[in-house]
């Protein structure tokens, strides 16, 4: 039977188990933003609690602190996670992106060294891809890593690194062959942000918090053992990581379904402002989040039966980011004059969460590869149109 759209008893039992644990453990109060020192610390504490409960990364093998769950169980877990309004994952770069990359490309020693502290919140990771002159054109990166015996000497600059201000480590690609151009001669390195010669300069985001940072490397010594994969193989590993980011893991449907549910509630609470456009936007939100969920289960089922995710991961990224922006825009319209009120203002609807969410939704079409770049990928790799 290939179409069985009901959960098995085992899956239902798993859901019940997650639900019970979340009900006991999810903090009753919303944590402060993870882009502040205090919020970051509280989120790290939450990661530790999740880990202690065995819920840090359910799809990982047990040896690394996981439960060996399959993708459907992972989706169920995510549904219960967002249903319980549990905090955002401050460890997301590690657990969703570097983690799967390490499992695929890491040596046994690297996996043993890096995965457990990633799962338990002891080491939180930042991504260091972008450079001031290598954003969309990531192959233009210039930050260098020069081999000297058993280590590399790293110099150069990265930028827009989310949570680097508070994180412990970063991963990214660096030019290990000085004579190389574009995609060649790059290597994937794991670098502690506490290393000598690393300077992290915070950059305030739209909301005024230091959500990302510039990272300067000034002759930083990085052991060769911190290289993931072979020297010069950095680009293809980075593309695999980007695939995880655009594909399933970064944005599970539950997050958006929760937003759509909240939007319906907001619409009902603002009956006086319920214009036909508002109603249409609310119905659209439900349909799109539902479609996104169906698409994700469809993909997960295929992956579980041995298929690989291809360039269509770019479709996902476009779909969720633009849907999220539309939902938040609709909420802003429904709130009218209350839309501008910040968290902490007594009159702020939902304590300013829609405003936060709206600002963050504007970043969705930019990070993880802008949507323009994703459209190019779809046109060239899914449809086979010629390169410009």
């Amino acid at each position: 039977m290939s179409f069985d759209l009901t959960y098995t008893d085992r899956q239902k039992a798993f859901r019940a188990e997650v639900r019970a644990w979340m009900a006991e453990n999810v903090p009753g109060q919303r944590l402060p933003s993870l882009d502040t020192a205090e919020g970051f610390a509280q989120h790290r504490a939450w990661e530790r609690r999740l880990h202690a409960g065995g819920w840090s990364m359910v799809t990982w093998p047990r040896d690394y602190g996981g439960r060996g769950c399959d993708l459907i169980e992972w989706l169920i877990f995510e549904e219960e996670y967002y249903r319980a309004e549990a905090p955002l994952r401050v460890s997301q770069n590690g657990i969703f992106l570097l983690g799967p990359t390490l499992m695929e490309f890491g040596t046994p020693e690297q996996k043993a060294r890096f995965l457990p502290p990633m799962a338990n919140g002891d080491e939180i990771w930042a991504q260091a891809w972008s450079e001031p002159n290598a954003g969309s054109d990531m192959a233009a990166i210039r930050a260098r890593a020069v081999r000297e015996g058993d280590h590399y000497v790293v110099s150069g600059q990265k930028i827009w690194s989310s949570r680097a201000v508070f994180a412990d480590w970063c991963f990214g690609i660096f030019r290990t062959d000085p004579a190389s151009r574009r995609h060649k001669g790059l290597s994937f390195l794991l670098i502690p942000l506490s290393a000598k010669g690393v300077t992290v300069r915070p950059i305030e985001q739209l909301d005024g918090d230091p959500g990302f940072a510039e990272i300067f490397f000034d002759d930083v010594k990085v052991p060769v053992g911190n290289r993931l994969g072979a020297e010069g193989q950095g680009w293809s590993i980075a593309m695999a990581t980007a695939g995880f980011e655009r594909g399933l893991m970064l944005r599970s449907p539950a997050r958006f379904q929760k937003t759509a549910e909240r939007l319906v509630a907001l619409y009902k609470s603002r009956a006086d402002r319920a214009t036909p456009e508002a109603k249409a936007a609310v119905l659209r939100a439900w349909q799109e989040t539902e479609a996104y969920c169906l698409n994700t289960y469809y993909t997960a089922s295929r992956l579980m039966s041995g298929a690989a995710i291809g360039p269509e991961a770019s479709c996902n990224k476009i779909f969720w980011s633009e849907m999220d922006r539309r939902m938040h825009r609709a909420a802003m319209a429904l709130m009218g004059a209350f839309a501008e009120l910040e968290e902490g203002t007594p009159e702020a609807i939902d304590d300013g969460r829609w405003l936060d969410g709206y600002m963050f939704s504007l970043a969705g079409p930019i990070y993880a590869g802008t949507n323009e770049i994703q459209r190019n990928i779809i046109a060239e790799r899914c449809l086979g149109l010629p390169r410009s």
Binding site: S2, L5, A254, E261, Q287, Y298, L385, S388
Partner: protein, 342 residues
């Protein structure tokens, strides 16, 4: 939980695609215009396609609505101008259920066609050559011989649809279902028809995206294929994304049993999503074709016009939107994470 095509289904899709592309290239559409291609119809019957939903005991393939959905999607890709949905999707299961074996054999073998007259559809496609009509009313379902029907021709913008207003004076035929059972059946006919129409819309969208993509690879302006220009790439990518996200919505609706509490909203969602994807693909395709797209000479128009026709059939946008609205805005509606499946 398992939501993917089986190997058999992938084979079905592949086989159907090859068959339709081979037997129904645009040249066939051009030759037909308004008529009915009997030769093509009997080939479709020979493939067993018309008996997909009929049990094996009566000579059908004993497959389910998902299989037929996949088939109809492939039929849509070539804008197949045949009433497959009406016969394979609506008439066949109805006749099988009511034990109308003689008519059933006729339909499955391709030697006779049946029309379905249902309150949701004011004009009936290909009624002229039908040998019988199944009349669906809320309280009774019956079979009328063609002789008892009066047909008045109406013109569709789709040159490959041949529409009639169908009426009959009295109930000369045979009642096959009455009362509650008839009401239930009438609803099921509607559900199946809406899902299959959505599937055809998906196929039409895919066909138009393919056609426009091919054109964009060969047509040159400024010394290069127009498909190398980013503006066009992005138009086509947008159409592709919409289609990719409509497909599982339609498959889900096809996979739900008609008794599920969510069936109506799932079907409404399917029809809306597929309709949107198809309209968007049509508008994108004509833009990619430029002036050529605005002609009768380009094949594109067959696909576009079918989309316009199917949009309003088996529940138009308003109808399905209000079903959806009733569900989403109901007090205590089961929305949010974890509510998509049971």
């Amino acid at each position: 939980m398992e939501f993917r095509l089986s190997q058999d289904q992938k084979d079905l899709v592949e086989g159907a695609a090859a068959f339709f592309v081979g037997e129904c290239p645009p040249a066939v559409l051009r030759r037909l215009e308004g008529g009915m291609c009997e030769e093509l119809w009997s080939k479709v019957a020979q493939m067993g396609f018309l008996g997909i939903l009929a049990p094996e005991e009566v000579g059908g393939l004993g497959l389910d609505l998902i299989d037929l959905t996949l088939l109809v999607e492939q039929a849509g890709r070539v804008a197949l101008p045949l009433p497959v949905v009406e016969n394979a999707g609506l008439a066949v299961p109805l006749l099988a259920q009511c034990g109308e074996s003689e008519l059933l054999d006729k339909v499955m073998s391709g030697s006779g066609r049946v029309i379905v007259v249902h309150p949701a559809v004011p004009f009936v496609n290909h009624a002229e050559q039908a040998c019988a009509a199944i009349i669906c009313k809320r309280e009774r379902i019956g079979v009328l011989p063609a002789a008892a029907l009066r047909l008045e021709k109406v013109n569709s913008i789709d040159p490959l649809r041949s529409l009639s207003r169908v009426s009959y004076d009295a109930w000369h035929g045979k009642e096959v279902l009455v009362g509650e059972a008839a009401g239930e059946m009438e609803k099921q006919v509607f559900t199946r028809a809406a899902v299959l129409t959505a599937a055809e819309l998906l196929g039409l969208a895919a066909g138009m995206i393919e056609m426009a993509t091919e054109y964009a690879k060969t047509r040159e302006q400024f010394g290069k294929p127009i498909g190398s220009f980013q503006a066009l790439k992005h138009h086509l990518a947008n159409a592709f994304v919409k289609l990719e996200f409509a497909r599982p919505v339609v498959y889900r609706a096809a996979a739900l049993s008609p008794q599920t509490s969510k069936i109506d909203v799932a079907v409404a969602h399917a029809k809306l999503a597929a309709g949107d994807a198809a309209c968007f693909a049509a508008e994108t395709a004509i833009q990619v074709f430029g002036g050529m797209g605005y002609t009768y000479e380009a094949d594109l128009h067959f696909w576009m016009k079918r989309v316009w026709a199917l949009q309003g059939l088996w529940g138009d946008r308003d109808f399905h939107t209000s079903r959806l609205e009733r569900y989403v805005l109901a007090d205590g509606a089961a929305l949010g994470p974890g509510q998509t499946f049971e």
